[in-house]
């Protein structure tokens, strides 16, 4: 059953001028996607698991400093460096959504994809992490709980994309712009993250992505990221 509504090229725009670095997106992402808490010691060692992180860089000399926040997650590259290196096809390109997906049950844990991701967007389950009660009541039934030894990363909340599409199909209408919102965009109090269908030139995300403030991360690598960043306009707090 070929569904035309399934061929959306999903994309995201992040306005770094609006980002306040509040980390709401990081928290929302962890709750939505069953990302485990690795604990103080592990996180301190650099093994904290996040599918999205807020990179904070300082500009200027003290005391005249300005922070710059760049929320960074998997860029869902069109030419993804992680895909060809996996020996078992655990990291694959989804034809319907045009995003990169990780097949947790297929992953053997060579971590080659993690090395080859220029955005270092992938996180690895070094141990089996428990969700202590009552935290396990928060677990999202739509998302796999990963075991140790597998790689994982941002999926653009693919479960929400599917839910939105199913709802629209049940009601016999196309998916409306802004109907599907990933957890990070939903949680962002500054509306810095906008998500939508890039193949629809009238969608909000397409319009914003045409802004002259647009840039992409590491464009010289030719990875064709699906995430566009905005920078250089008005400055909102921070």
């Amino acid at each position: 059953m070929a569904n035309t509504e399934n061929t959306g090229k999903w994309g995201m725009v992040i306005d770094t001028d609006r980002c306040t670095g509040c980390m709401a997106c990081v928290t929302a992402c962890a709750m939505e996607n069953n990302i485990p808490w690795t604990g103080e010691e592990e996180a301190g060692y650099g093994r904290g698991m996040h599918w999205i992180r807020v990179q904070r860089l300082w500009h200027g000399e003290y005391p005249e400093v300005k922070p710059e926040f760049t929320p960074t997650m998997c860029q869902q590259c069109g030419h993804a460096p992680c895909e060809p290196v996996c020996p078992v096809f655990a990291t694959v390109h989804s034809e319907a959504e045009q995003i990169n997906l990780q097949v947790y049950n297929r992953c053997v844990g060579t971590r080659y994809c993690g090395n080859n991701c220029p955005y270092t967007a992938r996180t690895f389950n070094f141990f089996d992490h428990e969700f202590p009660t009552p935290m396990d009541f928060y677990l999202n039934p739509d998302v796999t709980v990963r075991r140790r030894g597998v790689m994982e990363k941002c999926t653009f909340c693919v479960q929400r994309i599917h839910k939105g599409q199913e709802k629209a199909r049940a009601e016999g209408r196309p998916v409306k712009d802004g109907e599907i919102v990933p957890a990070c965009a939903q949680a962002c109090p500054a509306d810095a993250i906008v998500f939508g269908d890039m193949s629809d030139s009238e969608s909000q995300v397409s319009q914003i992505a045409r802004s002259e403030r647009r840039y992409q991360l590491l464009p010289e690598l030719g990875t064709e990221p699906r995430v566009t960043y905005l920078k250089g306009g008005g400055y909102y707090g921070g």
Partner: protein, 480 residues
């Protein structure tokens, strides 16, 4: 009495060297066939209590350090190793590349020197080939050890399954898997072929379980003309065929890195650079092991002489220079290319907090061999060569450490720059494979003739001292 004969040999060789007598060379110092057979068998069958204690301790260490720590890691998670994002590969992969490098020694020394008819190779081809096999055995464990889920490792192999799923042939890891399996198989056959006549020799001169053991392994070898003809043909084919396999293996190992987009890895020069490094570390390891064999096994001083250290020392010097050339090339082109990420990375290697590893690499791989190996006296001194070659392998380990975790730690986002410290589990497993290598080598050194007797005898037949007037002139007959 045997001990007397041993020290007599030493003194004699020392005297020959002083007098520049051609008999200082093994090829010009023949012994009767039967005596030589007896010497090799004696070396193989003599076991001292010290030998058994060492083997016992090594076996225990392998069980504990390697399999114990690995088992514990499988039970608890790969997190017991120190790797962390973005440094996903650490000392496991470093040691993997190290062992695959060591394994180049056997083929290089044996096949290339055989093809080029370098006569000095004769007494130690087998010692080198054994290093290939055991180096691969130790190295091939690492792709399994470092997996997050080792219990499904077979998903990386092409095998028929209900879902028609193949491994991803675009992934360098699959090439790697195929290359290493090919090399392990072909190098084992290449080790076995020249072994057959020696096994038959041992079969005819032993009793009890050894007799049966060699009877099975020697495949009924009788030494007829037809058998020799076929054996030579097979060895000839394998010697030529295994050389491209050897070159391909380390090239493909280098593609694990070069085929990525990681800054500092994505380099077209990595293939030859890795091969030269592998041969440098491999030939050095041969020298290290020859010294150990010479000083621990009976009658080895007759077979392994200063001339062999001298000849291999020259090879090491040449490969140290080639390695330095590639190293320089790598820096020059990246400097010229001007890509900021790589330039910053290379600066970090030389000036960052782990710069001591970089300097260790340069001192051990370049400074030490260049300053010492030009000198024939040093090259002919087994103890000095032991120390030098050991240091070269320390340097090569440092090279791989610089290339793998230190490069991964300084990629395009300064946000998560950093280093990683190997943890106890990792260090234990690394030491465990070193113990495994020595353990296997020690056990097999008492099971098969470590010196290819027939090759030495063949060489000695071809080398004669002819009297021309009053002086003796060395003369060599061309074989085949």
């Amino acid at each position: 009495m045997a001990a007397d004969a041993q020290s007599l040999t030493d003194m004699q060789i020392a005297r020959y060297e002083k007098e520049e007598d051609p008999r200082q060379h093994l090829m010009f110092d023949p012994r009767p066939r039967e005596e030589m057979n007896r010497m090799v068998l004696e070396a193989m069958q003599t076991t001292t209590p010290r030998y058994w204690i060492t083997v016992g301790i090594l076996g225990l260490l392998v069980a504990l350090l390697l399999f114990g720590a690995w088992g514990n890691m499988i039970l608890n998670g790969i997190g017991l190793a120190g790797v962390r994002p973005p440094i996903y590969w650490g000392i496991f992969i470093v040691t993997f590349v190290f062992w695959i490098g060591i394994s180049h020694a056997g083929t290089f020394v044996s096949a290339i020197l055989r093809v080029f008819k370098a006569e000095f190779r004769r007494p130690f081809t087998r010692a080198a080939e054994l290093m290939t096999t055991f180096g691969l055995a130790a190295g091939a464990l690492y792709p399994l050890i470092h997996l997050g889920r080792v219990w499904v490792f077979y998903w990386m192999m092409p095998y028929p399954n209900a879902r028609w799923l193949w491994p991803n042939f675009r992934s360098a890891l699959v090439w790697d898997f195929l290359a290493i399996t090919t090399y392990l198989l072909s190098s084992t056959i290449y080790l076995y072929l020249p072994l057959i006549p020696d096994l038959a020799m041992a079969r005819d001169r032993t009793e009890g379980w050894r007799h049966y053991f060699y009877m099975v392994l020697s495949l009924g070898w009788r030494g007829t003309e037809a058998e020799w003809l076929r054996l030579r043909k097979a060895i000839g084919i394998f010697a030529f065929a295994i050389i491209p396999v050897m070159f391909s293996v380390h090239t493909i190992v280098s593609w694990d890195f070069a085929a990525t987009q990681v800054a500092g890895w994505s380099s077209t020069i990595f293939g030859p650079y890795f091969i030269v490094g592998a041969i440098l570390s491999g030939v050095s390891a041969v020298i290290t092991i020859l010294f150990v064999l010479r000083s621990t096994m009976k009658n080895m001083k007759y077979f392994i002489r200063p001339e062999h250290f001298n000849a291999l020392g020259k090879l090491v010097l040449v490969f140290s220079m080639s390695w330095a050339y590639f190293f320089f090339n790598e820096y020059l082109l990246h400097w010229y290319g001007g890509y900021k990420v790589v330039r910053d990375l290379l600066m970090h290697h030389a000036t960052g907090p782990a710069a001591w590893i970089w300097y260790t690499m340069l001192i051990c791989n370049v400074a030490i061999p260049w300053l010492t190996l030009w000198n024939k006296k040093i090259r002919s001194n087994p103890t000095a060569m032991f120390v030098i070659t050991l240091l070269i392998n320390v340097g090569m380990f440092a090279e791989r450490y610089t290339i793998i975790p230190l490069t991964l730690g300084y990629q395009r986002f300064p946000f998560n720059w950093g280093q990683y410290t190997p943890r106890l589990t990792e260090i234990s497993i690394v030491l465990g494979t070193f113990c495994l290598f020595i353990f296997l080598y020690m056990v097999v050194s008492r099971l098969i003739p470590l010196v290819p007797v027939w090759e030495v005898q063949e060489g000695q037949h071809a080398h004669t001292l002819r009297k021309v007037g009053k002086s003796e002139v060395p003369s060599v007959t061309e074989l085949d």
